[in-house]
């Protein structure tokens, strides 16, 4: 077996300040999702929501290492990746509310959200759909000698799709600058990992392509950050891709509305103890002397920001019905719209 297990965080190089920054980012995701669920219950969000709650350390740990020129593809569970990358919660809410001020002008919703300025190439409604696309971005970087890196987030369930296989193979073959980040939250929809694959570690699929695979505690933001650094450096150096498996757990059901009764109570309890925000807050207190006030500040900054964001989003205009006809094709084609 070629895959190695990333050592658990020793916290090297993380100051209190940096730690609080990471915590705030994770908190922003958590609270964004909690508020989104409420707003959906209030009827403000019409479409699907797949909450990222519980997995925050994975997105934040990965994204913290990236540079501005890097690009990402994501999944149906994409809010965490977007916020991890630094997206604006206000425009995200506006998109969820289906408003023109949203990232996709109300055309995409949760499943298709993008932020072009951040190189966030999109959530995706198709399981495994983002993987080949990230591969293609990495191919273009390689072809043009760019030192940008592509990151593809996907789940344990997605690793059973053909798209995973085809892209892993090409990426390894061509030594593309890409990170395959499998967020293993133990379930694909209502199906346990043990019922969808034999292996315990998705990372053990990497050797099948001649690629390194690494397992990391996906609830430990520092540990994720450390393995990511290695993988990003490898990618930027032209040494090719890495498969990073972040072991994590979603606290809620598959989608907002799923009661997740298919999960054993003990399992849920066990993972709740390993809540990445909880454990990291504790670590910051004990290892970096974060004060209660420090932590409270983080929370209140996050809440303030989100309430401002929500208020802004609520004020955004609804699209016109006829806006549905735009953007089918690039409008400037031959100077006229083609419908």
């Amino acid at each position: 077996m070629n895959s190695s297990t990333g050592s658990t965080s020793t916290g090297i190089s993380v100051t209190l300040e940096k730690g609080l920054e990471l915590l705030e980012r994770m908190m922003l995701i958590r609270r964004f999702e909690e508020r989104a669920a409420q707003l959906r219950a209030e009827g403000l969000i019409p479409g699907f929501l797949h909450p990222y709650i519980g997995q925050e350390a994975s997105a934040v740990g990965i994204c913290d290492v990236l540079s501005p020129q890097d690009v990402l593809t994501s999944t149906h569970r994409g809010h965490g990746h977007m916020i991890g990358r630094g997206a604006d919660p206000a425009r995200m809410y506006a998109e969820l509310f289906a408003r023109v001020g949203g990232y996709n002008q109300g055309k995409g919703g949760s499943l298709h959200m993008i932020d072009t300025e951040l190189g966030f190439l999109g959530a995706n409604g198709i399981v495994g759909g983002g993987i080949p696309i990230a591969g293609g971005a990495a191919l273009q970087f390689k072809r043009t000698g760019s030192d940008a890196v592509a990151v593809s987030f996907f789940g344990d369930g997605a690793s059973n799709e053909g798209s995973f296989h085809e892209t892993m193979n090409m990426a390894a073959l061509w030594k593309l600058p890409i990170l395959f980040v499998c967020e293993n939250n133990l379930y694909g929809e209502f199906t346990r990992q043990s019922e969808h694959m034999v292996l315990k570690d998705v990372a053990d699929r990497a050797p099948a392509y001649g690629m390194p695979g690494v397992v990391v505690d996906g609830n430990d933001v520092i540990a994720v950050r450390e393995v990511t650094k290695v993988a990003v450096e490898r990618a930027r150096n032209g040494d090719g891709p890495t498969l990073i498996e972040t072991k994590t757990y979603r606290h809620r059901g598959h989608f907002e509305g799923d009661m997740a009764k298919y999960r054993p109570k003990e399992e849920v309890e066990e993972w709740m103890k390993r809540d990445p925000l909880l454990t990291f807050s504790t670590w910051l207190s004990t290892e970096r002397d974060a004060s209660k006030a420090d932590l409270a500040d983080v929370r209140s900054r996050v809440d303030t920001r989100l309430e401002v964001a929500i208020a802004w989003a609520k004020e955004q205009a609804h699209p016109l019905a006829e806006d549905a006809l735009n953007h089918v094709y690039v409008e400037s084609f031959n100077g006229e719209a083609l419908r």
Binding site: P46, G47, F48, A98, R99, N104, G106, K107, G108, G109, L111, H112, N124, G125, I126, V127, G128, G129, G157, A158, N160, E161, G162, G188, E189, F190, T191, E195, H196, M197, Y262, H318, P319, L320, A321, E322, D323, A324, L325, V328, R339
Partner: protein, 327 residues
């Protein structure tokens, strides 16, 4: 009053057919213990066990391929594609393999498989979870295509589809599932409904409206509105798209001389084009007016409800087009 929903019809057809023929089984993502994302197979796992409700990894091509292979050696698989949009990942197995096997083998093999596809919009499900893909399959020689609009038709046609020796694509509109995941309704006995036999849902004399799946409801409401204005609509539900009841449509056009086709798929290249082409070719002498198609506008399905509603054919657009047509 009986409580018998579209999902009940589908569930009962599956249950009765498994009982009748143990080679029948369901295969798909989360179709087993959980009863499916839309609850259609709920309760069947308890009754028939995992051997007849086979849960799979997320591997659409592999799943449909597994159904094809099982069908070649005696199984009668019913595949559930949770959202029809995902069928694009299994297209090779459906179009290049299942549809052509009987033909390519000179009649020596056949693929008695049903692919149940959840189709259409259900409120801001977005561009990748809302498509109406009938015309991808109706054009494929070797496939049969079914699109029921009522609980009875869903049951009777699914029974026929399961017994059918050929691969059948079976569309189920999300908007017709009622009380998703709710308790199972009453068991209603329904005889198998033969393929290729349409149904006059409403008699009329001014125009024939062909419609199916969820859009049929809108057509009916439009007809109600129009009746008040003195416009008499005949509504024809083909129920199966391949085979298509050409004689039934022709008989209706003999009465009305006008044709409007309404469906949720985009107008361009939707199955309405085929119906229109048939009528313009074989019923030309009956036509007193242009053939009108009311499909979704030619866009992907947008997320925002306002835009989504605008793209879809609804009661108002159907009524409006009929008014223009009979003027």
């Amino acid at each position: 009053m009986t409580n018998f929903t579209y999902a009940d019809g589908i569930r009962q057809a599956i249950a009765e057919e498994i009982e009748r023929d143990p080679s029948v089984f369901v295969i798909g993502e989360d179709v087993g213990e959980s009863g499916g994302v839309f609850g259609v197979t709920k309760g069947l796992w308890d009754r028939f066990g995992s051997n007849h409700l086979w849960d799979t990894p997320i591997s659409e091509e592999g799943i449909v391929g597994a159904a094809v292979g099982a069908a070649l050696v005696g199984g009668k698989p019913i595949v559930e594609i949770m959202f029809g949009d995902f069928s694009f990942l299994a297209m090779d197995m459906i179009v290049n393999q299942a549809a052509k096997t009987h033909y390519m083998t000179g009649g020596n093999l056949s693929v008695p498989m049903v692919v149940r596809m959840v189709t259409g919009t259900a409120g801001s499900t977005g561009a990748q979870h809302s498509q109406s893909l009938e015309a991808f399959f109706t054009q494929v020689p070797g496939l049969k295509v079914v699109a029921p609009s009522t609980a009875e038709d869903a049951k009777g046609l699914l029974i026929s589809a399961i017994r059918d020796p050929d691969p059948v694509i079976f569309f189920e509109h999300k908007g017709l599932y009622v009380g998703r995941g709710g308790p199972a309704g009453d068991v209603v006995k329904v005889d198998p409904i033969p393929m290729g036999v349409g149904k006059i849902v409403r008699e009329g004399s001014d125009v024939t409206i062909v419609s199916y799946l969820k859009t049929l409801e809108y057509a009916q409401k439009a007809a109600d509105e129009l009746a008040v204005e003195g416009i008499s609509c005949e509504i024809f539900d083909p129920r199966t798209l391949v085979p298509f009841d050409r004689a039934g449509l022709r008989a209706s056009l003999e009465k009305t001389g006008r044709l409007l086709i309404a469906h949720e798929a985009p107008t361009r290249g939707g199955f309405g084009a085929e119906i229109a082409a048939f009528a313009a070719e074989d019923c030309f002498e009956l036509l007193r007016a242009p053939i009108v198609r009311v499909g979704a506008r030619n866009t992907p399905i947008p997320y925002a409800p306002i835009m989504e509603k605008y793209t879809l054919p609804g009661v108002a657009r159907i009524a409006e087009e009929v008014r223009k047509l009979v003027k």
